[in-house]
Symmetry: C2
Subunit: 313 residues, 2 copies
């Protein structure tokens, strides 16, 4: 993994497009720029190309481009299959287009995989060889490093862990199927549970509203609201079940949590821990297992894209 | 993976201890011997050492020993943690003992992982880079090859897939926890379901008996017995749910089934296919996905141990 050229990393977020230029082996960028992903007119790709050009170094010495993109996508070909956040992309050759235009290799993977890669290389998972990353926010995403390799799979669709089935009779997931981890533990799932209980007559300080957020539920829980507490208990309980499955699948030495919902602390993680300990079928999985919060924050996508380009070039 | 020495492979089965001597890159052994695992007196390890000595080549040119052992075990250290089949082994340094005695490297992993490795290198999965192996018999075991690497994990306990939780309120598994894949789809789970239904008053040609086997249930199903058919339907339905989870975790290009219960054909695999297709949350996982039966039969353990020694030495 020795190389001399600079790397350009791009993070395609729901609201912002970010690009940064890095020197070899330095994680503080030489330059970093950010624009809005969506403008009045379409053309996300054109704006991205211009953004990259605007940070291109004078010496022209760029070895590769790494891109963190919303999925599903195919990291082996660099095609974005279809993504709800950028509707103009459908079987869109993002990687090939960048390579053609900039005449250097371009590597693409989804946000969760690259957050896993970034945390492993630069963040909470440094020094570990087997890492499980879970982001819990609007959705639930996963990424796995096994034996120092990013687990991508044949179609590049491995570790879509938010869609793990936990109960065939469970609530509907955003994907339309029932009983997935995401349908219990994501922010919208927590809100949906609270609204359902309110409608069924539960007492709570929370007022039913279509603008209710998981953060408002968390604040009510911290004030002692029983319904709010039970919503996070349920989210943590199912998260523990899911992680029990992930441990016996991937057997990591560290589990790293990112995403807004995971910021609430013990409200989610106390029930998570009880559930995991109660459900793991062999205690050895927990020996020396570290459970930690993501360290890279908003830079997870950019640094993951940097890492991807570094290990791929 | 170039090497010149011969390899000795050992398969520790519940009834037989087998050892075979292989030339480099040839899967037909020079010599193959088999003895009973359990004798009147203890000393499985001693019998194994003697068995290996009895096939040791005259030229003494052995590069490594590979061993397929019942688990749980630690493939990184070669220690057998504890195994119900060989009670005299408890934190037993199988790999280190062999290395010390024969003065060559010895590598150990569990049967299911090595069946996966064997099928990938020599059997049904040849040419694939991402393979999922599932054995369905008394228990349910799993093994995964991802990007041409055997997935072992930090403690060496990865891919214990029979203990995947599918329903927190499901039936008891052999491990004592509820709702695992093995508690729905293993041979004993099929028998237990039938006995429970008979006790509840279901009509069937099957007579309740503590000697009932999954094979007898399969024979009744082939004669049109509705209870027997429903028992396999249920096993296949849950197997499909579990494989939907495994596809989104590992995203293989081939799923290989081994083990006695998987020999029943469409009785299990028709409901399995319907369930998998109904539950996979993105159709792309099924694109070019091959589903096949294990090709190595009884030699899976030996050839897996051979493969392990070849790739490790």
């Amino acid at each position: 993994m020795e190389f001399m050229g600079k790397i350009i990393a791009v993070d395609i977020g729901g609201t912002h497009l970010r690009a940064a230029l890095y020197e070899p082996e330095v994680t503080k960028p030489i330059i970093h720029k950010r624009i809005r992903t969506h403008a009045d007119e379409p053309g996300v790709y054109g704006r991205m190309e211009a953004l990259i050009e605007s940070i291109w170094p004078k010496d022209g010495n760029v070895a590769a481009i790494g891109v963190a993109s919303p999925g599903p996508l195919d990291p082996h070909t660099g095609y974005i299959l279809k993504t709800p956040n950028i509707r103009e992309w459908h079987n869109f050759p993002l990687g090939p287009n960048l390579t053609k235009h900039f005449k250097i290799p371009a590597f693409v993977d989804n946000d969760a995989n690259l957050a896993a890669l970034g945390e492993w290389r630069f963040g909470a998972g440094k020094g570990h060889h087997h890492l499980l990353f879970l982001t819990i926010s609007t959705g639930v995403g996963g990424g796995v490093i096994t034996d120092d390799h990013l687990l991508q799979g044949y179609h590049g669709l491995a570790t879509e862990l938010g869609h793990t089935l936990l109960d065939p009779k469970g609530p509907l997931c955003s994907c339309g199927f029932a009983g997935h981890l995401e349908s219990y533990s994501s922010g919208p799932a927590i809100v949906k549970f609270v609204l359902g209980e309110l409608e069924a007559g539960s007492h709570s300080s929370i007022k039913p509203s279509k603008n209710l957020t998981a953060r408002v539920v968390a604040e009510a829980a911290m004030q002692g609201d029983k319904l709010a507490i039970s919503a996070y208990q349920r989210a943590g309980d199912y998260l523990g079940m899911a992680v029990a499955n992930f441990l016996l699948s991937f057997d990591p030495s560290i589990v790293v949590f990112g995403g807004g919902v995971s910021q609430v602390g013990s409200l989610l993680f106390d029930p998570f821990h009880s559930s995991l300990i109660k459900r793991i079928f062999h205690p050895r999985y927990l020996e020396n297992l570290k459970i930690d919060m993501a360290a890279l924050g908003d830079d997870a996508g950019l640094l993951g894209a940097l890492a991807l380009a570094q290990i791929s070039v």
